[in-house]
């Protein structure tokens, strides 16, 4: 029992890590899509600079989540893969095109680079949307199973108004995460214009997120009653805390406290996922699969827990090192500033 929950919490934390870190990377692609005007190229290059060293590592949280689910809860993985065949396939196509186009863009000549840039930004919108709809299908109890066989129609579940709203919400949330992150990146580049540009973008995306949140909230008693009752029943304090911290993120953004805004926006996202998880407890896939019926035997879970502990002991310091090395001002800028200093003193 305890073992099952320990593994489940690790997997849910991976989901949060993917949503926050991977989400910010996909959001970068969304802002690439909306880059226009004379700042457009600078915005694009800032996005590229932010994604470059980290996007592949951030992506692996998803892989870890998939193989973890496969190992610890095989029936759930099997059922989800069958019922959500279409949104998962589309999300994967988005992942492939986003990643490939990002690296192709950086290595192509001007004209083809533009084409791949378009592919990069378009593909970045596909994945969060379809993962969002898939998550909504699960949370709203739309995956039906009878006698071990999935009964759900290919297009059912993830195409309801509620699911489409959550898909759009996932997109706008990614956009917020990316924008608050890009503000800090722009500060490192001493680019005040881009700081302001992404502050505006973060606030617009935040407002859209708020509206979509409200729509989902109104729809959920009808379309996702289980989630609704779960939320009222045992996740209400967490949901209120989420809303308050989200409000805090917006306020600190408004007051130009950017580091705080980033921390609060990331925390809000994490808490959204925590509230979702708590709301649908004790189901893994409501109401088809419970946590305990889907769990692998203790021998497997123990082996997974031990390997995960060893793996994390290697992984987390490495990850810290990665973010540590790429934090702060780009070294090339230091050189430029030094070169610029003598001329500025002459004036």
């Amino acid at each position: 029992m305890t073992l099952t929950y320990a593994i489940l919490i690790i997997l849910w934390l991976s989901l949060i890590a993917y949503a926050v870190l991977g989400g910010a990377d996909f959001g970068g692609g969304i802002w690439d899509f909306f880059a226009f005007g004379k700042e457009a190229e600078r915005q694009r290059s800032l996005i590229g600079q932010a994604l470059g060293p980290v996007w592949e590592a951030n992506h692996v949280w998803l892989i870890f989540l998939i193989v973890g689910l496969f190992t610890a809860f095989p029936p759930a993985f099997s059922i989800l893969s069958t019922a959500l065949f279409v949104p998962f396939t589309l999300a994967v196509i988005g992942i492939v095109l986003r990643g490939a186009a990002f690296i192709f863009r950086a290595n192509s000549e001007a004209v083809t680079s533009k084409v791949w840039g378009r592919v990069f930004s378009t593909a970045s919108t596909i994945t969060p949307f379809f993962f969002g709809t898939a998550a909504a299908a699960v949370a709203s109890g739309q995956v039906h199973v009878q006698g071990g066989r999935v009964q759900t129609d290919l297009l059912a579940g993830w195409t309801t108004p509620f699911a489409l709203t959550i898909g759009a919400l996932a997109l706008s949330l990614c956009a917020v995460l990316a924008a608050v992150n890009l503000i800090i990146e722009a500060q490192h580049n001493n680019d005040a214009e881009l700081v302001e540009a992404f502050r505006r973008r973060a606030m617009i995306a935040g407002a859209i997120t708020l509206v979509l949140d409200a729509v989902a909230f109104i729809l959920s008693p009808f379309q996702a009653p289980l989630l609704w009752h779960g939320l009222l029943d045992h996740a209400l304090p967490l949901a209120i805390a989420t809303a308050l911290i989200g409000l805090g993120a917006a306020t600190s953004l408004f007051l130009r406290r950017y580091r705080l805004a980033r921390v609060l926006a990331f925390t809000t996202t994490a808490l959204i996922f925590a509230s979702w998880g708590l709301s649908q407890f004790p189901y893994l896939v409501p109401v088809a699969v419970t946590i305990n019926t889907a769990a692998s035997p203790p021998s497997t879970l123990l082996a997974l827990l031990i390997s995960t502990s060893i793996g994390m002991a290697l992984l987390l310091p490495s990850l810290w090192f990665l973010f540590h090395v790429f934090r702060g001002k780009h070294p090339a800028l230091n050189v430029q500033e030094k070169a610029a200093e003598p001329t500025s003193t002459q004036h």
Binding site: G52, P53, V54, E56, A57, H59, V60, L62, I63, F64, I66, V67, G68, F70, T71, A72, P74, F77, S78, I79, L80, S81, T82, F85, F88, T89, V92, I93, I95, V96, L97, G99, A100, F102, I103, F104, A106, N107, W116, R149, L154, S296, P297, S299, T300, A303, L304, S307, G311, L314, L315, S318, L319, F321, L322, V325, F326, H330, P331, A332
Partner: protein, 450 residues
């Protein structure tokens, strides 16, 4: 096509695509580590230029490997949900372990690609170690899972229920030592000869700089050291089939009827109807000798298996021979190259015929990997888990698999073409003229690239 065939086609295409990048992901970091180490040790701008070039190519190849690997991790569930349901608790663990190895690789790749200015030259070089070490671990873990599909272990089935699961025993199943070592060596062989082929082409085109000779030399060292081990290892691997998977061995060698003192039949076209191989070169008793060490030993043929349990040797047999042939060709080329090198007092041989041989050995080594997987996978059919679960019972019930196969095939074609164009562009861009200290710690090698 039937749904089963669509699913198998999509899975096969995805694996055939991914394995090229996975192999380079194992092999190239080792070359990077050695080249950068030599550069720092000798303060040599030639080795550093090679490191820089390979890093750029590796960035492209790794990204494509990462996304195509993601497709596969989803496809296991999307295409084979019954397989995942049955096997997750038994053999999911190596996938999770591979997840960690891949994570470490991705983290240090980020540091390695973008850290030239932010890390000291020595720290940068040290980042290449976790790259090639975790690359090798990734390959080992994933192939151990495939080994389990060939020789399932670490569980019992009682009254139709899986019990007594021991994940460690599942990872260390009987095929694991053979398959994992064979794949790791294959990655080094293919990377070595593959990279060597690039520089052989350049030298054939009249490029004279030492840069090209250094590239050729290091790549040929890796390939030529790995290939004899690989052939020895392949022999062990094939022999293990006699006990572990006799049906696969029968398909590999085209043995339709159980016989004593079986001959080996090289090449030819398998005729399933008559149970013969036409146009094959036959060497009497050799199969019995190779498989059992006794010229009169009995080799089990396909006739010992019920018709619905037989793999089809039509592709398996020629694939196996193609793989072995490519391996021996690489061995021959590697041997001649180093023989000439040492006989001519350590001068890189520039014999055109030999260089053309190297050019050919590169792609052939990758073909050998593909053919080897054809042997492993088609030779296991009709089972997805040998003697436990049939492939036809594991396939998804989702309709429209043909559409999904067509879409993914289209994506692979686009990726392959773009990647080829970009790699060619990279190979043709002029060499930088920068001197040692700049080259060792600047963000860019200086010329023609972003």
């Amino acid at each position: 096509m039937s749904d089963l065939l669509d699913a198998r086609a999509q899975m096969g295409t995805s694996l055939a695509f991914h394995i090229i990048f996975a192999s380079l992901g194992v092999g190239l970091p080792l070359l990077l580590c050695i080249a950068e180490g030599l550069a720092l040790w000798h303060k040599d701008s030639g080795w550093m230029t090679l490191t820089r070039r390979w890093t750029k190519a590796f960035a492209l190849l790794f990204a494509i490997g990462a996304v195509s690997g993601t497709i596969l991790s989803f496809e296991i569930g999307l295409l084979w949900p019954t397989f995942t349901k049955f096997s997750g608790s038994i053999i999911g663990l190596p996938f999770a372990l591979e997840g960690f190895a891949f994570f470490i690789e991705a983290i240090f790749l980020g540091l390695y690609l973008y850290g030239w200015e932010r890390l000291s030259p020595r720290a940068h070089w040290l980042c290449s170690f976790p790259l090639w070490i975790s690359g090798a671990f990734s390959a080992w873990f994933i192939v151990s899972a495939n080994s389990w599909m060939n020789t399932p272990a670490g569980f019992q089935i009682k009254h139709g229920q899986v019990t007594g699961i021991n994940p460690l025993q599942a990872i260390l199943n009987p095929s694991t030592p053979y398959e994992t070592s064979h794949m790791l060596l294959a990655a080094y062989v293919a990377t070595g000869f593959g990279v060597a082929a690039v520089y052989a082409i350049q030298i054939l085109r009249g490029k004279r700089e030492t840069y090209y000779r250094k590239g050729l030399l290091l790549a040929m060292a890796l390939g030529a050291i790995a290939i004899p081990f690989q052939i020895f290892d392949g022999d062990l691997s094939a022999r293990s089939l006699a006990d572990l998977q006799p049906a696969k061995l029968a398909a590999v060698e085209g043995v339709f009827h159980t016989e004593k003192g079986a001959p080996i039949q090289i090449g030819g076209i398998v005729d399933d109807k008559t149970g013969q191989i036409r146009f094959a070169i036959e060497i009497p008793n050799l199969l019995s000798i190779l498989a059992r060490g006794d010229p009169h030993a009995t080799i089990i043929g396909l006739d010992k298996f019920a018709p619905q349990d037989q793999p089809d040797p039509f592709f398996v047999h020629p694939s196996f021979d193609g793989m072995v042939g490519s391996g021996f060709f690489a061995l021959f080329i590697g041997g001649v190259f180093w023989l000439l090198y040492f006989r001519r007092k350590r001068v890189v041989p520039e014999n055109r015929l030999l260089l053309w041989g190297i050019v050919l050995s590169g792609p052939l080594s990758f073909v050998a990997i593909e053919l080897g997987w054809v042997v492993t996978e088609l030779g296991r059919q009709p089972w997805i888990i040998y003697n436990i679960l049939r492939t036809s019972d594991a396939v998804t019930t989702a309709p429209g698999l043909g559409v999904s196969f067509a879409i993914f095939s289209g994506i692979y074609v686009v990726l392959a073409i773009t990647l080829t164009v970009l790699l060619l562009r990279l190979a043709r861009s002029p060499l930088p003229k920068q001197e040692w200290p700049v080259l060792a710690s600047s963000s860019d090698e200086g010329v023609g690239t972003k």
